[in-house]
Amino acid sequence: MNWIWFHKLGSPKWFYQWSSKWALPVFSMGLLAMLVGVGWGLGFAPTDYQQGDTYRIIYLHVPAAVLAESCYLSLGVAGFVYLVWQMKMAPIFIKSMAPIGAAMAAIALLSGAIWGKPTWGTWWVWDARLTSVLVLFLLYMGIIALQNTLEDAALANQATAIVSVLGLINLPIIKYSVNWWNTLHQPASFSLTEKPAMPMEMWLPLLIAVIGFYCLVVGLVMWRMQSEILLRERRTQWVKEKVMNHGV
């Protein structure tokens, strides 16, 4: 196995240059895919025979929920990488990703609540999925608060990495523990590996929207990481040249 990419990824300078090439294309593609997926779902996908047109919220709700969990998974992995290998890029990633994840969790919660009202007749239920997304949101906010409060950079790195890793253990436990209560929420409507339960014309725009959200988030996190790299590596010569040549 070739590990060179792993070591390269650990170098802020290399990452900056590599991501400069990719951030804008990925972001634009994400925006485009999101618009296509959401527009298609909003205007062209057939009406659901049970829920009517209200189900169209799915094209925002499901991608956001998927992303909220994926983002946290990536935070946990980054935290682990930092605790084990002390890789410089990991805390930069955590700091950049946490606000995005929080936004995704907030979108999932809000859209879910608004969807739930006409469908189930209630804004909120304490079921496993909803509760775990709420806890996810709280964890994101905790990491952001920790990051903003700790002034010592080394301590902030260590602390956010630890909370990320612990959250990764905590989330499945919470999901499992809340599962005892009767769950109102429909079973997962989206899976890449299983045959979709919904008709193709509904499922395809959803897939495109999910891909769009993924690319959007990747593009955003690259930009945020770049800003953070500039700030943390401000004492190196290459950052100085980059900033001085930048016309702002």
């Binding site: 806890v135 608060a145 409060t149 301590l155 630890i162 612990l166 919470i174």
Partner: protein, 220 residues
């Protein structure tokens, strides 16, 4: 310094500052009293939720008393001496958490039957409540220790610490109250107790290592 002399010093120091433990217990009592006064003092309301009330009060008083666990040692430099003592820091932390757990939980376990009675907890569930407290609270202290170490260098870190740590208390509280409820309904509860024990065991393995990482990053 040896592990035993550290244990002895911790016990003595906690004994001299016993007012802190008393304060935490008073806080526990206050929170318990809030529920009947604030919601409904009738036996029909309190009886099914008594276990949950006592658990929430216990979790809150634990998180508050654990918050300042390392603060004084951080300020007077004893934390530095622990790191450079040549002894294993995770073991020292485990000893400290153990001492705190003993000092706080023994009186709390003695208080619990009294409050269970006042909240009309059915007497056959009392045994279950005590069992969940015994199994679950080590987890609360161990997880809290990580939070205390994360925020030890902050002057106003209490709020942040509570904010960070409470989400990690959710599973313990859920499993405990679920076990009490299961017993009241005549459902099997062995699995829930086993899960509770498993969480505390996991915390026992993870917490000292994570706490020592945070302490080493905080002491500069």
């Amino acid at each position: 310094m040896t592990y035993f002399s550290f244990f002895k010093a911790e016990c003595l120091a906690l004994f001299y500052t016993k007012q802190r433990v008393v304060n935490a217990l008073l806080f526990f009592v206050m929170v318990v009293v809030l529920f009947p006064l604030g919601i409904d003092p009738s036996a029909e309301f309190l009886s099914p939720v008594a276990g949950g009330i006592i658990w929430c009060a216990a979790a809150l008083s634990v998180v508050i008393s654990v918050e300042s666990m390392y603060k004084e040692s951080y300020l007077d430099g004893t934390l530095t001496q622990l790191i450079v003592s040549g002894l294993s820091l995770p073991w020292l932390i485990l000893i400290k958490v153990g001492v705190y757990w003993g000092a706080m939980m023994l009186p709390l376990l003695l208080l619990t039957p009294v409050f269970a009675q006042m909240l009309f907890l059915p007497s056959d569930s009392l045994f279950m409540l005590l069992a969940t407290l015994l199994l679950g609270t080590p987890g609360l202290f161990l997880i809290g220790s990580i939070g205390a170490a994360l925020t030890v260098s902050l002057r106003q870190g209490a709020m942040l610490m509570v904010l960070l740590i409470l989400p990690f208390y959710f599973p313990i509280i859920i499993f405990s109250t679920a076990a009490i409820k299961a017993m009241q309904l005549g459902l099997p509860y062995g699995g829930l107790l086993a899960l509770l024990g498993a969480i505390s065991l996991l915390a026992l393995v993870v917490s000292p290592v994570m706490t020592s990482l945070c302490i080493k990053a905080s002491v500069r």
